[in-house]
């Protein structure tokens, strides 16, 4: 069995150790926050998801059973489910709200060069179908193993691999035409 580097921290959190809570938060919050931002494309909603996810950690730390799954995987699953909840709500929300979210992003003229490159990449990610985006976010950006990500998405490893390959092909098609400009900007 793979040892879980978070087990001891979770046990200390269950015993009320605030320092352990802070350490665990420092370890995983950046990843959770960035995952939620990529999934939701809304800084505010991503922060709410991150807060809700850690709230669940604080409440459920005492019930955590090591050995079933890595804590990191469980935490990402919790955050991902919170993202799904919000995405489902959005399907029912009016388009005005979606426009508001898009309008909150800064325009290219207001960005630095590296910001512009990031914006192109983020934009390309957002054009992916939902499941492809989830797969690339989990594996490419959050370093999950194929087995962890497949389990998280309720897929076979082969199906995950297929999603990843299609996502990367789509991203290549979108980003390769502007790659020289992007790479030039990256070098500056």
């Amino acid at each position: 069995m793979v040892s879980d580097p978070d087990t001891e921290l979770v046990e200390r959190i269950a015993a009320g150790d605030a320092m352990a809570a802070r350490t665990l938060m420092a370890r995983h919050l950046p990843s959770i926050l960035n995952m939620a931002r990529r999934m939701l494309q809304s800084p505010h909603e991503a922060e709410d998801v991150a807060q809700d996810a850690f709230c669940k950690v604080w409440v459920n730390a005492g019930k955590w059973k090591p050995g079933q799954a890595l804590f990191k995987t469980w935490l990402h699953r919790v955050a991902l489910n919170l993202c799904y909840d919000r995405l489902r709500l959005r399907q029912h929300a009016d388009l005005e709200a979606a426009a508001e979210v898009a309008a909150s992003a800064p325009g290219p003229a207001q960005m630095t060069l590296s910001g512009q490159v990031a914006a192109h990449v983020d934009e390309a990610l957002q054009t992916l179908p939902q499941r492809q985006k989830e797969a690339i976010v989990m594996v490419h950006y959050h370093g999950m193993s194929n087995i962890e990500a497949a389990e998280q998405m309720g897929l076979s490893v082969d199906a995950l691999e297929s999603l990843l390959a299609r996502a990367r092909r789509a991203l290549r098609a979108k980003l390769t035409p502007i790659a020289p400009a992007l790479i030039g900007a990256m070098d500056e």
Partner: protein, 142 residues
């Protein structure tokens, strides 16, 4: 577990197309074989380099650091169990104090009755006339 003998160019291509150029992203069960295959095969190396160029662009995606305000919000939600125990203890102590006050009030009331009017039998209706209605009795008459 795949070995270099069972790794093919087709499988290697599928790996880099799905997982990119970083060997750390490749499935653990195929990593060693894929790496050895790549080192021995120029076509595989070219495929890996192609994947690396896309990885480099994808790495430019925006990454944010959590704000201090968000960290504070999250930590505010953390309740120390000892604090909960202390709260519970305070609650019980409060309840105990209220109960003690009630008992003391009753005892004091009886004491007042006894000292002001001697031995009074409250089951006797005549005793109520004796006490008078201006007396503040600590419990209801029913």
């Amino acid at each position: 577990m795949r070995t270099i003998e069972t790794m093919s160019l087709e499988r290697f291509k599928a790996l880099v197309e799905a997982y990119g150029a970083s060997e750390n992203a490749w499935p653990a069960s195929e990593r060693a074989a894929a790496l050895a295959f790549c080192n021995a095969n120029p076509q595989a190396r070219a495929l890996r380099e192609e994947a690396a160029s896309l990885d480099a662009i994808l790495a430019q995606a925006q990454t944010v650091r959590p704000s201090a305000a968000l960290e504070a919000r999250i930590m505010n939600g953390f309740k120390h169990p000892a604090a909960n125990v202390a709260t519970m203890r305070t609650t019980w102590m409060g309840a105990g104090a209220i109960a003690a006050c009630l008992v003391l009030s009753l005892m004091a009331g009886w004491a007042v009755l006894k000292t002001s009017h001697g031995q009074v039998d409250l089951s006797d209706p005549a005793a109520w006339d004796l006490i008078g209605e201006d007396l503040e009795f600590p419990t209801s008459k029913s």
